[in-house]
Amino acid sequence: MTKKTQIIVLLAFFCLVLGPFSVHADEWGTITIPAGKPIKIGMGTMLTGDYASLGIDIKHGAEMAVLDHGSILGHSLVLQAEDDGCSGPPSVAIAEKLCNDPSVVGLVGYMCSGGSKPASDIHDKYKVVMVSPSSTALELTARGIPIFFRTCWNDRIQAERAAAFAIKRGWTSVVVLHDKSDYGQSLAEDFGKNIEKRGGKVLASEGLTRGDKDFSPVLTKIKPLRPKLIYFGGMAAEGVLVARQMKRVGLRKTHFMSDDGCYTEKDFIQAGGKASNGCYVTYAKEPDPVWVKRFEAKYGPRQTFSPQAYDAATILMRAVEKAAKKQPDGSLIIGKKALRDAIAATAYDGITGRIAFDAHGDRTGSVVKIYKVVDENGKRFFKQLEF
């Protein structure tokens, strides 16, 4: 035996013999919250920038859940919200920061798929769970990452439902636009595939630049194709401009349809004014109206994902409650794997409906509804359609 192998064998022996005697065994390690210290719920969402009203809405949802929950086994709760900029680099930085904070048990977020994707690799490395209220891209739950869950839906469902609705309405010739983001592009492309699968035709597909304001040239280019529908995969800031500028360049008979990113009162309906009338978007079924009333009394009109954020935070806190072991000295020890398993085993009636997760971290039985902006009695709002 060489010296090296001797050491390895010796180490293996110690592990085998002493392992079972360690008091709080968890194959992923544990989180210890000292006595009297608060439990931190991490959060990554956009707090500044073009989609901030969406991000702040998410923060409000989680904040309300934390306040409603109060405390866990005598430990107070703190929501630590960080600005993830709806993009990769800041999300990764937040992941590194919060996963290395010993009092953070898990995270609600990130807001955008483009942030959740790279950040989930960091979370996987440290085995810190994350529950996203709003990252819907297909690939997030297709990468075999065990600590990722979401209370929103998978875009596969969103694309499928939207395409089925379009075909049923007879909108068989469509143009697909997206904002080149992980979220918008994969959703839009998937929508296109679904349209073609159902016998429709995708006339053109174009990428737009986030932050650009002038889409009239590309819409003018599309105009001679006479599409029945323009589908946009992306966020409201750009989506509402597409809807507005479609009317401007004369695409007035063409329908506009977009995704949950455009399901926002402030950035789509208010910002779009009259031009938002008759636009279609997809979103989950309406959340519990009692909750909505309570939320709006506190924070004003809700936008998009605050209900999903409320449920995400609640699920995380309930799982902590289940996995935490109170020690005689008043501290809490939480096994990371135990916490993950507790979330995976969730069976809970949230304000967005029954929540349970499949093996990939997607919600089982999630439904996506079609909404239309209507102007009734002098008020413009998203009206859920029967479909």
Binding site: G49, T220, P224, A237, V240, L241, D267
Partner: protein, 308 residues
Amino acid sequence: MSYLLNPQVIIDQIINGLTIGGIYALIALGYTLVYGILFMINFAHGEIFMFGSFGGFAALTYFVNSGFSDTHPGLSIVAAFLAAMVVSAILGALLERIAYRPLRNAPRLAPLISAIGASIFLQNVMMLIIKARMQVYPDIIQEEFLEFGWFSISYFQLFIISGSVLLMVGLYLFIQKTKTGKAMRAVAEDRDAASLMGIDVNRIILITFVIGSALAAAAGVMVGIYYTQIDHMMGFIPGIKAFTAAVLGGIGNVPGAMLGGYFLGLAEAFGVLFMPAEYKDVIAFGLLVLVLIFRPSGILGEVVSERA
């Protein structure tokens, strides 16, 4: 390509190009006026445009809240333009006084760095004011369209196209016909000789900043009304594009900046027909690179030579 055989597409793209081109031109004039006199690029000009847009936004929001805009929508818009121009003019004057005048005789790099610093400073000031959130211009006037059978033009587009032309004609007449305008041209050509005529050079430079800033403010309000969304970073890309327009036309040359603005707007509109829309910005900056390589003096710029 088949697009060029379609007169409807051509007319629509011309309208699109003239609209955004007019906005580029108004901003480009500020770069060119200042460069013409001081031989420096005022890189904070995009932020002056941004502040103008917010000045108009504040005024319009006030009119909406007070109900004034319900009874006098047209007057509200005019007042918003004036408010924006005043805000930007004051800002431009302060910028000249604080950031540039002390460096007038410093090496050329110093005012450039000062300008970039001022630009970042102003972005951050506005970020603090609006808490880094996008703001939406109030819809005071509904967008209607003039129909011409197979094409139509929006009132907003008509307003921007004619408004920018009007402002530019006004500026051109001011520079050509008024005593102050002629003094601006004299200072641009020879600062020392101008001072020997009894022209207060500092005052003329200040006026130049004020005029350029007011034009940028008008563009800012137009952008607000047309695109509805404004934020603290909104000056960056239009600023660089307008700078490109100024260079295209020949920096320091007033008609050149106007021409460059329209040229760029039309190039963007027509360029999208031949390449994917996501490369729209590539057109502007590709043009900038080409002009800098092959004709650095711009379309109308004279080849730089010593005076006879």
